[in-house]
């Protein structure tokens, strides 16, 4: 079920919390964990009970492998078992997620007419597969051991992080369930958890879903072959840029808030990515637990930066191409990953020559910082076009529009009111309907930009109560307006009003974007 559904909020969550603490109070902690696993399995099976077969099989196999890997003395045997586990997980992912894509690609390239029955993509398979691969590697490296099957089930299925992350390490979560205080209800955990959950929910429901109304028609039309004009294309791309951020970071906030209700802290997944001053910085702020996985389990095993620049750049490209493919079985995702790989190569190369020339890094100055931010942000927006478009033709239509190849149209009244100013820039006026919605769209994008660029993020806002693990070191000076949450009356009323408005807009339940990955 969705975090933003009334059933989840009004029925599932209160019952699960009640059951968890009641079991701990009147029975023992194993009973509480059992209850949490049962609730999480119910949560996952709510979408489609058939999914449970696959996740159960995946858990059983990975638990067994993780059980035996540390017990084996012989390195070759351990490696063999690890390899078996990785092949099993990737095989599962390959079949359910990529088989149709592979067949379609072969058909396109060879002109053949191979056919595969439609395969339904099980929910969250990308997330729970990666989490378990990380666990197997950690077991192999003696960094994680779990011999209790129930605990292992909780590690994989804990409902706040099961569907779309954050992707957690065993050693980050399970030790918290060993602590006695986790099993006693805490007023502080409830206030902090509920506040984070409401903030995340409002990001999704109020901002992301509103921006979707401007982004979706543009990409739908572009995919249908409609040529986009300049403002339509930029309006759609920017709306999507902020929609995706508020959608996914809102989801991650909700996950962190929900876990906190149970006294559990999860790793941070977003740290104001659009404030990044370089692409390297962006990837330390965007979907941080995935970038950590890609770094630790693909980039570094490939050799990382240890084998010279050329090899480093190749490794970056391979890592990002695979990262792109992880997001979806389509060439647009592969290209998106490739584009970011290329960005990272350019970024690393630029840093190298800049340091060699012994110049101070330009972003330490105000103008340098603004220029660095602008280049980074525009590069990210351009890459999102590939990510959002459902076809290469759609992406091309939007990008051509953004580059101004299809002209620039604004409402006729605007052009007339500008007294020739807009016309001097080649902007034409038209009364015909367009996919740029003028002032309302600009206001929504502006609001998104203001919140994402100038306000502290949820982690910073709640920093006195340590809501999540920060897995990368970050500058403290990236927030412009400094606000800190306190459990006082003013904040309580403010969060209540925000929560009420958000709750009142829940009626239109829309899925989170990252569920499709």
């Amino acid at each position: 079920m969705l975090f933003n559904s009334p059933f989840f909020i009004l029925v599932f969550l209160p019952l699960t919390l009640l059951g968890f603490f009641a079991a701990a109070r009147f029975a023992n902690k194993e009973a509480a964990i059992t209850w949490l696993v049962v609730a999480s399995v119910f949560f996952y099976g709510w979408w489609n009970p058939a999914y449970l077969v696959l996740i159960s099989a995946s858990i059983a196999v990975n638990y067994s492998l993780g059980f035996y890997i540390p017990k084996l003395q012989h390195l070759t045997a351990r490696r063999g078992l690890l390899l078996t586990g990785i092949v099993f997980n990737l095989g599962l992912l390959g079949y359910f997620k990529y088989a149709n894509f592979f067949v379609d690609s072969v058909n396109t390239l060879s002109g053949s007419d191979l056919h595969l029955a439609p395969i339904i993509l099980p929910l969250a398979i990308s997330f729970f597969t990666f989490q378990q691969i990380a666990y197997l590697v950690d077991s192999y490296q003696d960094a994680a051991h779990e011999y209790n099957f129930l605990h292992y089930c909780l590690f994989v299925t804990f409902f706040p992080q099961l569907i779309a992350g954050p992707i957690v390490h065993h050693k980050e979560m399970l030790p918290q369930f060993e602590q006695k205080k986790t099993f006693s209800p805490s007023l502080e955990n409830f206030t902090v958890g509920l506040t984070i959950f409401i903030l995340g929910l409002s990001k999704k429901v109020l901002i992301a879903d509103s921006l979707a109304g401007y982004a979706t028609p543009v990409f739908t039309a572009a995919d249908a072959g409609v040529a986009m004009t300049f403002f339509e294309a930029w309006g759609g791309a920017l709306a999507y840029t902020f929609q995706l951020y508020f959608d996914f970071s809102g989801y991650s906030d909700m996950a962190i808030g929900l876990a906190r209700l149970f006294g559990i802290r999860l790793p941070l997944n977003f740290h104001s990515p659009y404030k990044a001053l370089s692409i390297i910085d962006f990837w330390r702020r965007w979907h941080m637990t995935l970038s950590r996985f890609l770094r630790d389990y693909i980039y570094i095993p490939l050799g990382g930066s240890r084998k010279g620049s050329a090899r480093r750049y190749t490794n970056l490209l391979i890592t990002m191409l695979l990262g792109g493919l992880w997001h979806g079985a389509g060439w647009t995702f592969v290209i998106w990953g490739g584009v970011h790989g290329a960005y990272l190569v350019v970024n690393h190369f630029w840093r190298k020559i800049y340091s060699a020339m012994n110049f101070p890094l330009g972003r330490n100055t105000l103008y340098g910082a603004i220029a660095s931010w602008a280049v980074t942000f525009v590069s990210v927006v351009v890459a999102w076009v590939f990510f959002r478009a459902e076809s290469l033709e759609g992406a091309q239509n939007v990008l051509m529009g953004m580059a101004g190849f299809n002209g620039a149209l604004l409402p006729l009244t605007w052009v007339q009111a500008s007294g020739g100013l807009l016309a001097a820039f080649g902007i034409e006026g038209s009364n015909a309907p367009m996919l740029f919605n003028g002032l309302p769209q600009m206001l929504w994008i502006g609001a998104g930009a203001f919140i994402a660029l100038l306000l502290p993020n949820v982690q910073q806002l709640m920093r006195n109560f340590k809501p999540a693990f920060d897995i990368y070191p970050h500058d403290a000076n990236t927030r412009v307006v400094d606000i800190v949450w306190k459990p006082n009356v003013a904040w309580s009323i403010g969060i209540s009003i925000l929560g009420l408005i958000t709750f009142g807009y829940l009626a239109r339940v829309s899925e989170f974007l990252y569920f499709q990955f």
């Binding site: 079920m1 559904s5 009334p6 059933f7 709510w46 979408w47 489609n48 339904i120 007023l187 502080e188 409830f190 206030t191 509920l194 109304g213 979706t216 028609p217 739908t220 039309a221 249908a224 072959g225 409609v226 040529a227 033709e393 002209g407 149209l409 034409e428 038209s430 009364n431 015909a432 309907p433 459990p487 006082n488 009356v489 904040w491 309580s492 009323i493 969060i495 209540s496 009003i497 929560g499 009420l500 408005i501 709750f503 009142g504 807009y505 829940l506 009626a507 239109r508 339940v509």
Partner: protein, 419 residues
Amino acid sequence: MHARYLKILTAFFAIFTVGLCGFNWFIDPLGFYKPPEVFGVNFIKDQMWKHDRAIKAWGIKSMEPDGLVLGTSRSAVGITTDHPGWEAEAVYNSSLTASTMFELYRYLQHAYAFNDVKEVVFGLDFMAFNPARANPVSFDESLLKVDVNGNRAPGYPLLSEYRNLMSIPMAKVSLDSLRDNRLPKNADKDNSNYLPNFSSLGVMQPDYFPRSRWMTHRAEALSAITSLIDIWWAPVDDFTLGRKGQESKALHWYRKILRLAYENNTQVYLYFTPAHAYVYETMAAAGLWSTWEDWKIMMIRINDEEAARAGKSPFSVHDFSGYNAITTEVMPELVGPANAAVHYWDILHFKASVGDKVQDVLFGLAEPGEYFGIPVNADNIEKHLRGIRESRTRYQLNNTEEVAALEAQLAASMAEQPQ
């Protein structure tokens, strides 16, 4: 500190939830909850028209029909469900305003989730195949019992109409409905002016249009053609049925609708809807005539392909579009009860009297008229299209004044298009 914070949060939520739910329940603007009826407060339900996605999903759930009308607003307005030709016992008009093929597919799935649908009258409108048309914001798949793969949607029916009780957007609809109910002091509930415009299941009554202000006359009909170019077929240069050998999404979902019907042994009556001749003249001026013809051929071809795939005879397809005695009706100069158009509410929406003639032909109770309800198939479609072209020429020669006015309006409209 934390305890007080939680108390305030809880109190706010409790008050808000009770207040909002109570208000939406009592006003009940979409007729879901059936509270006590109070004339002047919650009696009139005209907001149903703007919320047909929610209403029709709920109507299907409530009625569990075994007969269905599918299509756009033309079918919603013009096709009645009490025609004697239906063999189905419970017929529901699930047509949706400005619908896409995907929406219709999903509503058909929704209907199958409740009952075996025996018969479907499916109105085919060219505008629904415009590739630039997206599903409207009001289309909400979580109101439907099954997902796109046909599996039961998680949470249904808990997440259907009841969740609207707690909705701020629904409170806005309730407020609008309250305004609709603001009547003169001496208003009498039994006065025919206050007859319900919609059935209890949200289907428009046949006489809704005349009682609203939607009655067409010539000047209005002429100005309405602009909307065809600016909205319904826009952007006309990009109106295609597919690219690079691939069917457009609309064609894909049309195919899926037919496939679903063949698999479920449903009898589908396909027909091209009869718009007014002004629409076809506009189509020609916009350069869409050949696309329109190709579209008809495609509709028939896909029907044949899906029939062959299912090993069954193709569904019948009848063409009511083009130039015939109905569609070439001369628009009255002025509007009024005495001189209203006979067949049309506006150039797109035909009246129920025309809809009854359409159903007479579809159900085999009457013979087709001249270019009205011709059965078309792969063998005769080319000849039929040639016939429509010829009838167009005759129409233009016989209605020179009207065609000139139309051309002037079209020229003005096309001049406003961005180059």
